[in-house]
Symmetry: C2
Subunit: 228 residues, 2 copies
Protein backbone atom coordinates (compact mmCIF):
# COMPACT_ATOMS: atom_id res chain seq x y z
CA UNK A 1 0.00 0.00 0.00
CA UNK A 2 2.25 2.76 -1.26
CA UNK A 3 1.28 6.38 -1.65
CA UNK A 4 0.99 7.51 -5.19
CA UNK A 5 4.20 9.14 -6.34
CA UNK A 6 2.67 12.52 -7.11
CA UNK A 7 1.45 12.94 -3.55
CA UNK A 8 4.83 12.42 -1.98
CA UNK A 9 6.25 14.52 -4.82
CA UNK A 10 4.00 17.40 -3.81
CA UNK A 11 5.13 17.11 -0.19
CA UNK A 12 8.78 17.04 -1.28
CA UNK A 13 8.26 20.13 -3.41
CA UNK A 14 6.76 22.06 -0.49
CA UNK A 15 9.67 21.09 1.76
CA UNK A 16 12.21 22.02 -0.95
CA UNK A 17 10.57 25.44 -1.37
CA UNK A 18 10.62 26.05 2.37
CA UNK A 19 14.26 24.94 2.51
CA UNK A 20 15.28 27.27 -0.31
CA UNK A 21 13.79 30.23 1.58
CA UNK A 22 15.65 29.14 4.70
CA UNK A 23 18.92 28.93 2.73
CA UNK A 24 18.44 32.50 1.49
CA UNK A 25 17.89 33.64 5.09
CA UNK A 26 21.09 31.94 6.25
CA UNK A 27 23.02 33.60 3.42
CA UNK A 28 21.47 37.02 3.97
CA UNK A 29 21.76 37.30 7.76
CA UNK A 30 25.56 37.13 7.48
CA UNK A 31 25.50 39.25 4.33
CA UNK A 32 23.68 41.91 6.36
CA UNK A 33 26.48 41.80 8.93
CA UNK A 34 29.27 42.01 6.39
CA UNK A 35 27.71 44.65 4.09
CA UNK A 36 26.08 46.60 6.97
CA UNK A 37 22.95 46.85 4.79
CA UNK A 38 19.83 47.31 6.92
CA UNK A 39 17.45 46.32 4.10
CA UNK A 40 19.06 42.88 3.89
CA UNK A 41 18.61 42.39 7.64
CA UNK A 42 14.96 43.42 7.36
CA UNK A 43 14.47 41.02 4.45
CA UNK A 44 15.52 38.11 6.67
CA UNK A 45 13.04 39.17 9.35
CA UNK A 46 10.19 39.50 6.82
CA UNK A 47 10.97 36.16 5.15
CA UNK A 48 10.52 34.44 8.51
CA UNK A 49 6.73 34.95 8.30
CA UNK A 50 6.53 33.12 4.98
CA UNK A 51 8.75 30.34 6.34
CA UNK A 52 6.44 29.96 9.35
CA UNK A 53 3.44 29.75 7.03
CA UNK A 54 5.16 26.94 5.12
CA UNK A 55 5.79 25.11 8.39
CA UNK A 56 2.07 25.16 9.17
CA UNK A 57 1.02 24.14 5.68
CA UNK A 58 3.45 21.24 5.47
CA UNK A 59 2.32 19.99 8.87
CA UNK A 60 -1.30 20.07 7.69
CA UNK A 61 -0.38 18.31 4.45
CA UNK A 62 1.35 15.51 6.38
CA UNK A 63 -1.63 15.03 8.72
CA UNK A 64 -3.92 14.96 5.69
CA UNK A 65 -1.79 12.38 3.88
CA UNK A 66 -1.66 10.11 6.93
CA UNK A 67 -5.40 10.37 7.66
CA UNK A 68 -6.61 9.93 4.08
CA UNK A 69 -4.03 7.54 2.64
CA UNK A 70 -3.18 5.56 5.77
CA UNK A 71 0.38 4.91 4.67
CA UNK A 72 2.54 2.29 6.35
CA UNK A 73 6.21 1.36 6.31
CA UNK A 74 8.52 3.52 4.26
CA UNK A 75 5.88 6.08 3.20
CA UNK A 76 4.72 6.59 6.79
CA UNK A 77 8.27 7.11 8.04
CA UNK A 78 8.92 9.53 5.21
CA UNK A 79 5.93 11.65 6.21
CA UNK A 80 6.58 11.65 9.98
CA UNK A 81 10.23 12.50 9.30
CA UNK A 82 9.07 15.33 7.04
CA UNK A 83 7.00 16.75 9.92
CA UNK A 84 10.00 16.76 12.23
CA UNK A 85 12.33 18.17 9.60
CA UNK A 86 10.16 21.21 8.93
CA UNK A 87 10.23 21.98 12.67
CA UNK A 88 14.03 22.10 12.43
CA UNK A 89 13.87 24.26 9.29
CA UNK A 90 11.57 26.70 11.03
CA UNK A 91 13.97 26.98 13.97
CA UNK A 92 16.94 27.48 11.64
CA UNK A 93 15.09 30.48 10.20
CA UNK A 94 14.66 31.78 13.76
CA UNK A 95 18.44 31.64 14.21
CA UNK A 96 18.88 33.61 10.98
CA UNK A 97 16.50 36.23 12.42
CA UNK A 98 18.54 36.33 15.66
CA UNK A 99 21.68 36.92 13.60
CA UNK A 100 20.04 39.60 11.44
CA UNK A 101 18.86 41.44 14.54
CA UNK A 102 22.33 41.39 16.11
CA UNK A 103 23.91 42.39 12.79
CA UNK A 104 21.79 45.56 12.86
CA UNK A 105 23.31 46.50 16.20
CA UNK A 106 26.80 46.27 14.73
CA UNK A 107 26.25 48.63 11.80
CA UNK A 108 27.90 51.49 13.69
CA UNK A 109 31.11 49.58 14.39
CA UNK A 110 33.93 48.77 11.95
CA UNK A 111 34.20 45.12 10.83
CA UNK A 112 36.43 42.82 12.87
CA UNK A 113 38.79 40.04 11.94
CA UNK A 114 36.21 37.45 13.06
CA UNK A 115 33.96 38.35 10.10
CA UNK A 116 35.88 36.12 7.70
CA UNK A 117 35.62 33.07 9.98
CA UNK A 118 31.92 33.80 10.53
CA UNK A 119 31.38 34.01 6.75
CA UNK A 120 33.16 30.70 6.29
CA UNK A 121 31.02 29.07 9.01
CA UNK A 122 27.90 30.44 7.35
CA UNK A 123 28.96 28.96 4.02
CA UNK A 124 29.44 25.48 5.48
CA UNK A 125 26.27 25.61 7.61
CA UNK A 126 24.14 26.79 4.67
CA UNK A 127 25.49 23.97 2.50
CA UNK A 128 24.84 21.47 5.30
CA UNK A 129 21.17 22.54 5.43
CA UNK A 130 20.81 22.25 1.66
CA UNK A 131 22.45 18.82 1.56
CA UNK A 132 20.50 17.58 4.60
CA UNK A 133 17.21 18.44 2.86
CA UNK A 134 18.41 16.94 -0.44
CA UNK A 135 19.42 13.77 1.44
CA UNK A 136 15.87 13.61 2.80
CA UNK A 137 14.12 14.16 -0.51
CA UNK A 138 16.37 11.65 -2.29
CA UNK A 139 16.55 9.29 0.69
CA UNK A 140 20.32 9.39 0.28
CA UNK A 141 22.08 7.89 3.29
CA UNK A 142 25.62 8.70 2.12
CA UNK A 143 24.82 12.37 1.66
CA UNK A 144 23.24 12.53 5.12
CA UNK A 145 26.35 10.93 6.63
CA UNK A 146 28.48 13.50 4.87
CA UNK A 147 26.43 16.34 6.42
CA UNK A 148 26.97 14.91 9.90
CA UNK A 149 30.72 14.77 9.37
CA UNK A 150 30.90 18.41 8.32
CA UNK A 151 29.41 19.61 11.62
CA UNK A 152 32.76 19.25 13.33
CA UNK A 153 34.22 21.89 11.02
CA UNK A 154 31.50 24.35 12.05
CA UNK A 155 32.02 23.52 15.73
CA UNK A 156 35.79 24.01 15.40
CA UNK A 157 35.38 27.32 13.61
CA UNK A 158 32.93 28.45 16.31
CA UNK A 159 35.37 27.50 19.07
CA UNK A 160 38.14 29.35 17.29
CA UNK A 161 35.97 32.47 16.79
CA UNK A 162 34.83 32.41 20.43
CA UNK A 163 38.38 31.94 21.74
CA UNK A 164 39.76 34.74 19.55
CA UNK A 165 37.02 37.10 20.68
CA UNK A 166 37.48 36.16 24.34
CA UNK A 167 41.20 36.90 24.05
CA UNK A 168 40.38 40.22 22.41
CA UNK A 169 37.99 41.10 25.23
CA UNK A 170 40.69 40.41 27.81
CA UNK A 171 43.22 42.52 25.92
CA UNK A 172 40.90 45.36 24.97
CA UNK A 173 37.90 45.57 27.33
CA UNK A 174 36.51 48.39 25.17
CA UNK A 175 35.57 45.73 22.58
CA UNK A 176 33.48 43.63 24.95
CA UNK A 177 30.07 44.69 23.66
CA UNK A 178 30.91 44.17 19.99
CA UNK A 179 32.82 40.96 20.63
CA UNK A 180 30.00 39.46 22.67
CA UNK A 181 27.51 40.20 19.87
CA UNK A 182 29.78 38.37 17.46
CA UNK A 183 30.05 35.43 19.87
CA UNK A 184 26.25 35.31 19.91
CA UNK A 185 26.15 35.37 16.10
CA UNK A 186 28.81 32.67 15.86
CA UNK A 187 26.90 30.42 18.27
CA UNK A 188 23.70 30.90 16.29
CA UNK A 189 25.48 29.70 13.15
CA UNK A 190 26.83 26.74 15.10
CA UNK A 191 23.24 25.90 16.08
CA UNK A 192 22.17 26.04 12.43
CA UNK A 193 24.83 23.38 11.82
CA UNK A 194 23.38 21.38 14.73
CA UNK A 195 19.90 21.50 13.22
CA UNK A 196 21.28 20.35 9.84
CA UNK A 197 22.96 17.48 11.70
CA UNK A 198 19.69 16.63 13.45
CA UNK A 199 17.92 16.53 10.08
CA UNK A 200 20.64 14.30 8.59
CA UNK A 201 20.42 11.92 11.57
CA UNK A 202 16.67 11.64 11.11
CA UNK A 203 17.22 10.88 7.40
CA UNK A 204 19.63 8.06 8.20
CA UNK A 205 17.17 6.69 10.74
CA UNK A 206 14.46 6.88 8.12
CA UNK A 207 16.51 5.22 5.39
CA UNK A 208 18.11 2.53 7.49
CA UNK A 209 15.39 2.04 10.03
CA UNK A 210 17.97 2.36 12.72
CA UNK A 211 18.97 5.23 14.96
CA UNK A 212 22.43 6.53 14.29
CA UNK A 213 21.99 9.27 16.85
CA UNK A 214 21.44 7.00 19.78
CA UNK A 215 23.15 3.86 18.55
CA UNK A 216 25.68 3.90 21.36
CA UNK A 217 22.97 4.57 23.91
CA UNK A 218 20.84 1.67 22.77
CA UNK A 219 23.83 -0.65 22.74
CA UNK A 220 25.52 0.50 25.90
CA UNK A 221 22.88 1.50 28.40
CA UNK A 222 20.05 -0.20 30.11
CA UNK A 223 17.09 0.47 27.85
CA UNK A 224 13.85 1.64 29.46
CA UNK A 225 11.76 -1.31 30.55
CA UNK A 226 8.74 -2.20 28.49
CA UNK A 227 5.72 -1.19 30.47
CA UNK A 228 2.66 -3.42 30.63
Amino acid sequence: MSLRDEQLKHLKEMILKMASLVEVSIRDCVRALVTQDVSIAEGVITADHTINAYDVQIDEECIRLIARRQPVGRDLRFITTGMKITTDLERIADHAVNIAERARKLFETPPMKAYSDISRMREIAQRMVKDAIDSFVNEDRAMAQDVIERDEEVDDLNSSVVNDLMALMTKEPGNIIQASQLIYISRNIERIGDHATNIAEMVIYMVEGRIVRHMADLAGSQPPTQEQ
Copy 2:
Protein backbone atom coordinates in the same frame (compact mmCIF):
# COMPACT_ATOMS: atom_id res chain seq x y z
CA MET B 1 -12.45 5.52 14.96
CA SER B 2 -10.76 6.29 18.22
CA LEU B 3 -7.74 4.47 19.59
CA ARG B 4 -8.46 2.38 22.59
CA ASP B 5 -7.77 4.31 25.75
CA GLU B 6 -5.12 1.97 27.09
CA GLN B 7 -2.96 2.40 24.00
CA LEU B 8 -2.81 6.14 24.26
CA LYS B 9 -2.42 5.70 28.01
CA HIS B 10 0.67 3.57 27.43
CA LEU B 11 2.14 6.24 25.14
CA LYS B 12 1.39 8.95 27.71
CA GLU B 13 3.08 6.92 30.43
CA MET B 14 6.24 6.51 28.36
CA ILE B 15 6.37 10.26 27.65
CA LEU B 16 5.76 11.06 31.34
CA LYS B 17 8.60 8.76 32.38
CA MET B 18 10.96 10.31 29.86
CA ALA B 19 9.91 13.79 31.04
CA SER B 20 10.52 12.95 34.68
CA LEU B 21 14.09 11.88 33.85
CA VAL B 22 14.58 15.10 31.93
CA GLU B 23 13.30 17.13 34.90
CA VAL B 24 15.83 15.42 37.18
CA SER B 25 18.61 16.29 34.71
CA ILE B 26 17.55 19.96 34.65
CA ARG B 27 17.54 20.05 38.45
CA ASP B 28 20.86 18.23 38.80
CA CYS B 29 22.92 20.11 36.22
CA VAL B 30 22.49 23.33 38.20
CA ARG B 31 22.80 21.45 41.50
CA ALA B 32 26.19 20.21 40.25
CA LEU B 33 27.24 23.82 39.63
CA VAL B 34 26.07 25.08 43.01
CA THR B 35 27.30 22.17 45.14
CA GLN B 36 30.47 21.61 43.05
CA ASP B 37 29.76 17.88 43.28
CA VAL B 38 31.32 15.98 40.38
CA SER B 39 29.18 12.86 40.89
CA ILE B 40 26.00 14.90 40.30
CA ALA B 41 27.44 16.26 37.04
CA GLU B 42 28.35 12.74 35.95
CA GLY B 43 24.86 11.51 36.82
CA VAL B 44 23.36 14.02 34.36
CA ILE B 45 25.70 12.82 31.62
CA THR B 46 24.87 9.15 32.27
CA ALA B 47 21.11 9.78 32.43
CA ASP B 48 21.27 11.22 28.92
CA HIS B 49 21.78 7.72 27.48
CA THR B 50 18.56 6.46 29.05
CA ILE B 51 16.70 9.57 27.88
CA ASN B 52 17.94 8.96 24.32
CA ALA B 53 16.75 5.36 24.51
CA TYR B 54 13.30 6.60 25.53
CA ASP B 55 13.28 8.97 22.57
CA VAL B 56 13.86 6.05 20.19
CA GLN B 57 11.31 3.82 21.85
CA ILE B 58 8.57 6.44 21.90
CA ASP B 59 9.20 7.21 18.23
CA GLU B 60 8.83 3.51 17.40
CA GLU B 61 5.69 3.24 19.50
CA CYS B 62 4.12 6.18 17.65
CA ILE B 63 4.95 4.71 14.23
CA ARG B 64 3.52 1.39 15.36
CA LEU B 65 0.31 2.98 16.60
CA ILE B 66 -0.21 4.89 13.36
CA ALA B 67 0.54 1.91 11.12
CA ARG B 68 -1.54 -0.63 13.02
CA ARG B 69 -4.43 1.47 14.27
CA GLN B 70 -4.67 4.02 11.47
CA PRO B 71 -5.94 6.76 13.75
CA VAL B 72 -7.48 9.94 12.36
CA GLY B 73 -8.48 13.31 13.80
CA ARG B 74 -7.68 13.95 17.40
CA ASP B 75 -5.84 10.66 18.06
CA LEU B 76 -3.62 11.13 15.02
CA ARG B 77 -2.70 14.68 16.04
CA PHE B 78 -2.00 13.48 19.57
CA ILE B 79 0.47 10.90 18.28
CA THR B 80 2.27 13.14 15.77
CA THR B 81 2.53 15.84 18.44
CA GLY B 82 3.96 13.24 20.83
CA MET B 83 6.68 12.42 18.29
CA LYS B 84 7.68 16.06 18.02
CA ILE B 85 7.54 16.64 21.77
CA THR B 86 9.95 13.82 22.55
CA THR B 87 12.44 15.39 20.12
CA ASP B 88 12.27 18.57 22.20
CA LEU B 89 12.64 16.59 25.44
CA GLU B 90 15.71 14.85 24.10
CA ARG B 91 17.29 18.19 23.18
CA ILE B 92 16.45 19.64 26.60
CA ALA B 93 18.45 16.78 28.11
CA ASP B 94 21.34 17.72 25.80
CA HIS B 95 21.28 21.24 27.25
CA ALA B 96 21.40 19.79 30.76
CA VAL B 97 24.48 17.81 29.68
CA ASN B 98 26.07 20.99 28.27
CA ILE B 99 25.45 22.70 31.61
CA ALA B 100 26.80 19.76 33.65
CA GLU B 101 29.97 19.74 31.53
CA ARG B 102 30.54 23.45 32.03
CA ALA B 103 29.73 23.16 35.73
CA ARG B 104 32.62 20.70 36.07
CA LYS B 105 35.01 23.32 34.69
CA LEU B 106 33.93 25.74 37.41
CA PHE B 107 34.59 23.48 40.40
CA GLU B 108 37.94 25.16 41.04
CA THR B 109 36.50 28.67 41.24
CA PRO B 110 34.48 30.20 44.08
CA PRO B 111 30.73 30.70 43.43
CA MET B 112 29.64 34.03 41.97
CA LYS B 113 26.65 36.26 42.57
CA ALA B 114 25.05 35.03 39.32
CA TYR B 115 24.50 31.58 40.86
CA SER B 116 21.30 32.64 42.63
CA ASP B 117 19.75 34.05 39.42
CA ILE B 118 20.81 30.92 37.54
CA SER B 119 19.17 28.74 40.21
CA ARG B 120 15.99 30.78 39.95
CA MET B 121 15.98 30.43 36.14
CA ARG B 122 16.49 26.70 36.48
CA GLU B 123 13.54 26.44 38.85
CA ILE B 124 11.19 28.23 36.43
CA ALA B 125 12.47 26.38 33.35
CA GLN B 126 12.15 22.98 35.04
CA ARG B 127 8.58 23.76 36.08
CA MET B 128 7.80 24.95 32.54
CA VAL B 129 8.95 21.60 31.14
CA LYS B 130 6.86 19.67 33.68
CA ASP B 131 3.76 21.76 33.02
CA ALA B 132 4.25 21.65 29.24
CA ILE B 133 4.29 17.85 29.33
CA ASP B 134 1.31 17.74 31.72
CA SER B 135 -0.58 20.10 29.41
CA PHE B 136 0.10 17.64 26.57
CA VAL B 137 -0.96 14.55 28.46
CA ASN B 138 -4.12 16.23 29.78
CA GLU B 139 -4.72 18.19 26.57
CA ASP B 140 -4.99 21.28 28.75
CA ARG B 141 -4.93 24.45 26.69
CA ALA B 142 -4.92 26.86 29.65
CA MET B 143 -1.92 25.21 31.24
CA ALA B 144 -0.02 25.32 27.93
CA GLN B 145 -0.82 29.03 27.60
CA ASP B 146 0.50 29.59 31.11
CA VAL B 147 3.80 27.90 30.19
CA ILE B 148 4.23 30.20 27.21
CA GLU B 149 3.69 33.28 29.36
CA ARG B 150 6.35 32.22 31.86
CA ASP B 151 9.06 32.12 29.19
CA GLU B 152 9.45 35.89 29.38
CA GLU B 153 10.56 35.60 32.99
CA VAL B 154 13.32 33.19 31.98
CA ASP B 155 14.37 35.44 29.11
CA ASP B 156 14.48 38.48 31.39
CA LEU B 157 16.52 36.64 34.02
CA ASN B 158 18.91 35.47 31.31
CA SER B 159 19.35 39.02 29.98
CA SER B 160 19.98 40.25 33.48
CA VAL B 161 22.55 37.51 34.20
CA VAL B 162 24.31 38.12 30.87
CA ASN B 163 24.40 41.91 31.40
CA ASP B 164 25.73 41.57 34.95
CA LEU B 165 28.44 39.19 33.82
CA MET B 166 29.38 41.40 30.88
CA ALA B 167 29.74 44.37 33.24
CA LEU B 168 31.86 42.24 35.53
CA MET B 169 34.11 41.22 32.62
CA THR B 170 34.65 44.86 31.72
CA LYS B 171 35.47 45.79 35.30
CA GLU B 172 37.57 42.75 36.13
CA PRO B 173 39.03 41.13 33.01
CA GLY B 174 40.48 38.38 35.21
CA ASN B 175 36.94 36.98 35.51
CA ILE B 176 36.35 36.64 31.78
CA ILE B 177 36.79 32.86 31.57
CA GLN B 178 34.51 32.09 34.52
CA ALA B 179 31.93 34.71 33.54
CA SER B 180 31.75 33.45 29.98
CA GLN B 181 31.14 29.88 31.19
CA LEU B 182 28.26 31.19 33.30
CA ILE B 183 26.85 33.10 30.31
CA TYR B 184 26.94 29.82 28.38
CA ILE B 185 25.12 28.03 31.23
CA SER B 186 22.55 30.80 31.51
CA ARG B 187 21.84 30.68 27.77
CA ASN B 188 21.42 26.90 27.91
CA ILE B 189 18.77 27.31 30.61
CA GLU B 190 17.09 29.96 28.48
CA ARG B 191 16.97 27.43 25.64
CA ILE B 192 15.36 24.86 27.91
CA GLY B 193 12.63 27.45 28.49
CA ASP B 194 12.37 27.90 24.70
CA HIS B 195 11.89 24.15 24.21
CA ALA B 196 9.17 24.10 26.90
CA THR B 197 7.51 26.97 25.05
CA ASN B 198 7.77 25.07 21.76
CA ILE B 199 6.10 22.07 23.39
CA ALA B 200 3.32 24.23 24.85
CA GLU B 201 2.71 25.85 21.44
CA MET B 202 2.39 22.43 19.86
CA VAL B 203 -0.10 21.41 22.56
CA ILE B 204 -2.27 24.47 21.88
CA TYR B 205 -2.13 23.74 18.18
CA MET B 206 -3.13 20.16 18.90
CA VAL B 207 -5.99 21.09 21.22
CA GLU B 208 -7.40 23.96 19.23
CA GLY B 209 -6.47 22.82 15.77
CA ARG B 210 -4.99 26.21 15.14
CA ILE B 211 -1.47 27.47 15.20
CA VAL B 212 -0.80 29.92 17.98
CA ARG B 213 2.84 30.09 17.09
CA HIS B 214 2.35 31.40 13.59
CA MET B 215 -1.08 33.00 13.94
CA ALA B 216 0.24 36.46 13.12
CA ASP B 217 2.19 35.09 10.19
CA LEU B 218 -0.80 33.34 8.70
CA ALA B 219 -2.96 36.41 9.16
CA GLY B 220 -0.49 39.06 8.15
CA SER B 221 1.70 37.65 5.43
CA GLN B 222 1.17 36.28 2.00
CA PRO B 223 0.77 32.55 2.57
CA PRO B 224 2.72 30.23 0.30
CA THR B 225 0.75 29.47 -2.84
CA GLN B 226 -0.92 26.11 -3.10
CA GLU B 227 1.01 24.11 -5.61
CA GLN B 228 -0.77 21.93 -8.16
